[in-house]
Amino acid sequence: MANTINQKQNFLKGIIKENPTFVMLLGMCPTLGVTTSAFNGLGMGVATLFVLLMSNIVVSLVKNQIPDKVRIPAFIIIIASFVTVVEMVLEAFIPFLYEQLGIFIPLIVVNCIILGRAEAFASKNDVLSSVIDALGMGIGFVIALTILGATREILGNGSIFDFRIVPENANTFIIFILPPGAFIALAFLTVLFNKVTSKIVG
């Protein structure tokens, strides 16, 4: 079964056709919560990518050892362990990012992208396919969060990756930094993304 998967498609589907944020609308809590700046979006995306990759690997390795009825709690324990590892490592070695992401790191545990991929993909496929699936989905998520963060930072704060493009005192659309702006920006970007990709993919 696993051999028949086209790995290139497997990788690309996470970025375009099944983009977790813009197409499947999964993991909305960190998506809306942390993307106040491009850098925060990128940081959250990379942290999630790491957890997703590790959990997909482990889940696909142990899938046959876990009885069906307890698979969800087993997956959650695996995911939660990796999230806690990420949290401790970030606090120890990248305190700056840890401060920025703060409460949203523990929330990676309940990010439905990760459990979703463990359940829908890694528990049915071999390790290689699961790694590629995780990379595709993770990168799709990173791209989506970075775009969303960048949009909100440009419109709301007049800067991108902390690089100012408008003068310090210019009036910016502060609403885009605030929570409502997350919903507005996400909605418009989702429309745009699907418009563009439907033209490319056909």
Binding site: T36, Q65, D68, V70, S81, M88, A92, G156
Partner: protein, 198 residues
């Protein structure tokens, strides 16, 4: 390899093994990161001290004085800086929970006459683009060189001397409050050290 049946024994054993492994892994990583974590936190304080205090050559972190106030969860920390054995300044960490999103923690450096040398924000969760601009020099530099005995630590809206951040009066009030708290402590310690010295 066939899938394990969902028998009671199988379920208990597999969950037990998974939790055991994850427990050991977490313990191991915790051990590994506990020192760097403490170092990172300390480094942050040392960096802040270097910014807010006049030039010093002792290690203020070594003889920090912690004071617990009933009003606040965090204790106030007092760092004294010396340059060639004479006191040059005092840095006080202080906080306010009246920020827009809760806790605002900062460090104020005082010269011996009570003038504010510099302020550094240690911790805040204010809105990026609004209250979070309190970290910027533009807002903080208005405190530099001011003496709170004559300079009213309140935003202009409340009849004080501080220019509030645009659209972030609440955050500015939190800063004002914690600077005031730090100054009160500064005055108290100054009095108490004087009486002991006399």
């Amino acid at each position: 390899m066939s899938k394990k049946e969902s028998t009671f024994i199988n379920m208990v054993v597999s969950l037990l093994i998974i939790t055991l492994i994850s427990g050991f892994l977490l313990g191991y990583v915790n051990d590994l990161t506990i020192k760097p974590k403490a170092r990172a936190r300390l480094q942050k304080k040392v960096d802040a001290l270097k910014i807010v205090l006049p030039k010093f050559d002792n290690n203020p972190v070594e003889n920090v004085k912690k004071i617990k106030l009933d009003k606040f969860k965090d204790s106030i920390e007092i760092y004294t800086a010396y340059l060639s054995n004479s006191k040059v300044g005092v840095a006080i960490t202080s906080s306010s929970e009246k920020g827009f999103n809760g806790l605002v923690k900062l460090m104020v450096g005082f010269k011996l006459n009570g003038n504010i040398q510099k302020i550094q924000i240690l911790d805040q969760k204010e809105t990026p683009g609004l209250g979070a601009k309190m970290k910027g020099d533009k807002f903080l530099k208005q405190f530099n060189g001011k003496n709170p005995s004559t300079y009213k630590l309140k935003v202009k809206k409340d009849g004080g001397d501080i220019d509030a951040l645009t659209g972030a009066t609440i955050s500015s009030r939190a800063v004002a409050e914690s600077v005031q708290l730090a100054y009160d402590e500064f005055v108290k310690t100054k009095k108490s050290t004087k009486t002991t010295e006399n």
